[in-house]
């Protein structure tokens, strides 16, 4: 079952990467990043059955960082929306050459 869980984790991570690249809505991109974090968590939990409890501890830390990241990221999205009236990432071109 370890191999299957690792394959599932890789598939979820890859789908998350796909979403980050092909979507334009900043909130959906953010959701896809959460999907990638979750894929890594799944690999940690699956491997913790074979290496010890540390894997589950790291998942705990990753979840805390993800919560902090979600709070700050959504605040940034609100702040950007107030300025541009959209969350389409193609419109945020102030730093483009």
């Amino acid at each position: 079952m370890l191999t299957h869980a690792l394959i599932l984790s890789a598939a979820l991570f890859v789908i998350g990467t796909l979403g980050v690249i092909v979507r334009r809505n900043a909130i959906v991109i953010f959701l896809c990043i959460e999907l990638q974090l979750n894929a890594v968590n799944l690999a940690f939990v699956a491997l913790s059955r074979y290496t010890g409890i540390e894997g589950q501890l790291y998942v705990f830390f990753v979840m805390t960082v993800a919560a902090a990241e979600a709070a700050v990221g959504l605040a940034i999205i609100i702040s950007i929306f107030r300025h541009y009236e959209t969350v389409n990432v193609d419109k945020f071109n102030l730093l483009k050459w």
Binding site: I21, L31, V45, L57, A66, V72, N88
Partner: protein
């Protein structure tokens, strides 16, 4: 039984993940994400990580997803049904990046399969189950968390404080 449940959860997780990427409405994306998170929590249970499954449902599927939904409703994006997928050069780039990532991950996981730790893994799993019976599923995680990893744990609290202050400062309208 475990295998059947694993396949069920894996199918729901993968379908939800595709739904997140494909669906047009951000609210639909978010609900697909909740399905994925819930089935990943189910897989955690299959791996005997009951405490993590509980906080996955409470913190991730509960609190963080509600925060996302709240922002979608606050910004009034719920009925934004225009397709916002990028095509052309971007889909080519996506294929290249996704293919490379999948290749690297497959290579790494094959190496994991080759190394011998799956043989002595049964002993580790038995020790974990024994500890969970003695200390409880939360105690197994709490014991190293408050001894070996206590500095990281305290820093985590500091990080959350900084994140809360930053979120309030960023989201407040300046006038």
């Amino acid at each position: 039984m475990t295998e059947v449940l694993f396949v069920l959860f894996a199918v729901v997780a993968l379908g939800g993940a595709f739904g997140v990427v494909i669906s047009r409405s951000p609210v639909a994306s978010l609900l697909f994400m909740v399905a994925t998170l819930a089935s990943v929590a189910g897989i955690y249970v299959l791996f005997e990580a009951h405490f993590l499954a509980a906080i996955q449902v409470l913190v991730y599927a509960g609190a963080i997803m509600v925060l996302f939904l709240f922002v979608i409703m606050l910004l009034n994006l719920g009925h934004d049904y225009r397709a916002d997928l990028k095509f052309g050069l971007w889909s080519l780039l996506a294929f290249v990046v996704v293919g490379l990532t999948a290749g690297v991950l497959a290579q790494g996981f094959m190496d994991v399969g080759d190394t011998g730790f799956r043989e002595d893994g049964a002993a580790v799993a038995a020790a974990l189950d024994e500890a969970a019976r003695e200390q409880g599923v939360a105690g197994v995680i709490a014991e190293p968390l408050f001894t070996d990893y206590v500095v990281a744990f305290e820093l985590m609290g500091l990080l959350l404080l900084v994140a809360i202050v930053a979120a309030v400062v960023l989201a407040k309208p300046r006038n």
